[in-house]
Symmetry: C2
Subunit: 349 residues, 2 copies
DNA sequence: CGTTAGCACTCGGGGTTGCAGAGTGCCAGA
DNA sequence: TCTGGCACTCTGCAACCCCGAGTGCTAACG
């Protein structure tokens, strides 16, 4: 569907005004705010037209117009100008990363904070994951006589841990030897390559220990493999709930449920690599998000070689959202994260 | 202050009824619900007395009575009967722990979930910490040519990680040797014992690498040491906000801010070992919690030998809270966590 | 034929009014 | 010392009204 030049301008103004004020915009206020050389009556006629085309609606007979989901869609796809962040904005964001981001795990949280604060909506960032999970290194730390902490580092630089219990007493020294041997044997391997070995040398007890460790590692790798994402880091819930669409208490409670990490993990729309995806209102499959919008992007290295590592970064807000701003910010933070990952995992390979 | 037997009974009924219904309780409804052999008029006289003693108040002239903070305090200290969880309740909770709690890190979250669901309030649990942080083991994992992941396990079985950047290229093999050497040298030592060594053998580059690693480890240990608690795991925010005292939207927003992890970390009242602490309303120093109550306990091993490991577990709710239930649940979950820790870190030492 | 002025109509929000219900305080009598 | 009774108070809720902002339509205008 293509709108006339004039209608497009009017639609864009309606979207802009409504996004800013959250109040349905009427014909008169429109001509007053933006000096279009038309009378309010003409604008009313055009608005009626826009309504016929499904771009805007009435909340009730005598209220101003608000954009429909389709109207937002048209705005995002055809009308919105695609701005880049200014240098100052870029520097502000970069600065926060350079100052605080020590640890891989903190990156996601930091990115989420930055987005939430700039956009006053919920920001969500998943931890970087690889599609092809492999063991990088494991470590065994003695805790008590027959307990040890197993620490597993995978090729996406994620660290996982688990407490193991053995039927026999073990010494730190033998655990070290075992860890060393297993690292040599299984380092770089994926879950399916791990098998409980049947060597002859080790005593009965040690064989048991070994098989417990290998089983745990296998399970941890599989678990990592199974979840496309783990629960995303979510930031800015309060920012979101300050928006006037959530003014009523029960609406707030529903929304609070919708932005629960566990809930979001399964609801994040799929995103293709490269661009920034905008999913508006009822384009969402899941109920609670039908009057909200996602702006999402993949960060990380492309999965070309199967060894790609990455995740998803984005914001979630009411459909009445500053799409232009959001896209610009999400894209920039995506680029920053991608660059960080590129440095971390090395330039090539 | 001591109340007459009859007034005590009436106060207890007022607290019970108000906790249950959240509606100010009047003299008549009181005699109807509990068959005390008195007329409403007499109860009114007693209520006037209780009001003089500061135990209850009026929201306005012609409303029922609600307990004052002092009233709750009297109730908790003198009136409340101290129940234990029934066997079934204990089993339900234990079952959840046995089924899900694989990983030390998950314990806190699980404990919080259990409490939040049973008590319909916010539950908070800090990760176990020791007062005397020592290095247990470290691990170095190569990421790219000149980057490595440093994994540090401390004596409280916490795992921490950081990405390090070296001025020279490093090999996994030399990292392994370095890690082994440092483990031998510094295992069991605390931050103050770590010093950048000045050996002669290693080449210039390797010395740089070593000093970077040692510096990072020191910093991580200190950081762990500095924070009495890290941010607690918080669960059940939605449960809390469903309570009628948060029915209005702006009240909800304020509360949402108050239960923010970062905010809570600094606001948790201090708790002595042993018992269960109840901090009611304006007994809290910090503003946002002045009309809420904490029920808290320390879990873990006593810090007798300086090597104790533990944390804090508890709930946060409106002053109108089922204190008896809360105390019973918090105490039981505390015991469960303590037992788990005892097993984990060994019986003695 | 597109644009505009004018007009009747509609609806939500805010303020007012008017109960009904639940409670209280107090007093006089058992 | 307790209790029945009564006048009084305050909240919550529903009904009501009115104002303002906005619409749709029609007729006139360039």
């Amino acid at each position: 569907m293509v709108l006339s030049e004039r209608r497009s301008r009017i639609l864009a103004f309606i979207v802009d005004d409504f996004v800013e004020s959250a109040v349905p915009v009427g014909s008169q206020s429109l001509v007053l705010r933006h000096g279009l050389g038309l009378s309010s009556a003409t604008v009313r006629n055009e608005m009626a037209g826009l309504e016929d085309e499904g771009m805007i609606t009435h909340p009730h007979t005598s209220a101003g117009r608000i954009p429909s989901h389709q109207g937002y869609r048209y705005y995002v796809s055809s009308l919105m100008q695609d701005r880049e962040l200014s240098n100052t904005e870029q520097m502000t964001i970069l600065h926060q990363f350079h100052q605080q981001a020590r640890d891989l795990e903190q990156w996601a949280g930091l990115a989420a904070s930055v987005l939430a604060n700039s956009l006053h909506n919920v920001a969500l960032v998943t931890q970087p994951r690889t599609i092809d999970v492999r063991l990088k290194q494991l470590q065994l730390v003695e805790l008590s006589d027959n307990r040890a902490l197993l620490v597993v580092v995978t090729n996406d630089a994620q660290v996982h841990q688990r407490v193991l219990e053995f039927p026999v007493a073990v010494q730190q020294e033998s655990l070290l030897r075992l860890a060393g041997r297993l690292n040599g044997e299984f380092g770089g391997k994926s879950a399916s390559d791990l098998v409980v070995p049947r060597k002859d040398e080790p005593s009965e007890g040690q064989r048991q220990v070994e098989s417990i460790v290998v089983a745990a590692v296998t399970e941890m790798l599989l678990q990592e493999q199974a979840a496309a994402f783990e629960e995303p880091v979510v930031e800015g819930v309060r920012e979101l709930l300050k928006q006037p669409e959530f003014g009523e208490a029960d609406r707030m409670l529903d929304t609070l449920e919708a932005v629960d990490e566990r809930r979001l993990r399964d609801a994040i729309p799929s995103v293709e690599e490269g661009g920034v995806a905008v999913v508006i209102g009822d384009e969402n499959r899941e109920g609670p998000y039908q009057d909200m919008s996602f702006v999402l992007a993949r960060y990380g290295r492309p999965s070309a070689e199967g060894g790609g590592v990455g995740g998803v970064v984005g914001v979630l807000g009411p459909t009445r959202m500053a799409y232009g701003e959001s896209v610009a910010h999400v894209r920039y933070v995506r680029d920053v994260l991608t660059e960080l990952m590129r440095k971390l995992y090395g330039e090539d390979e």
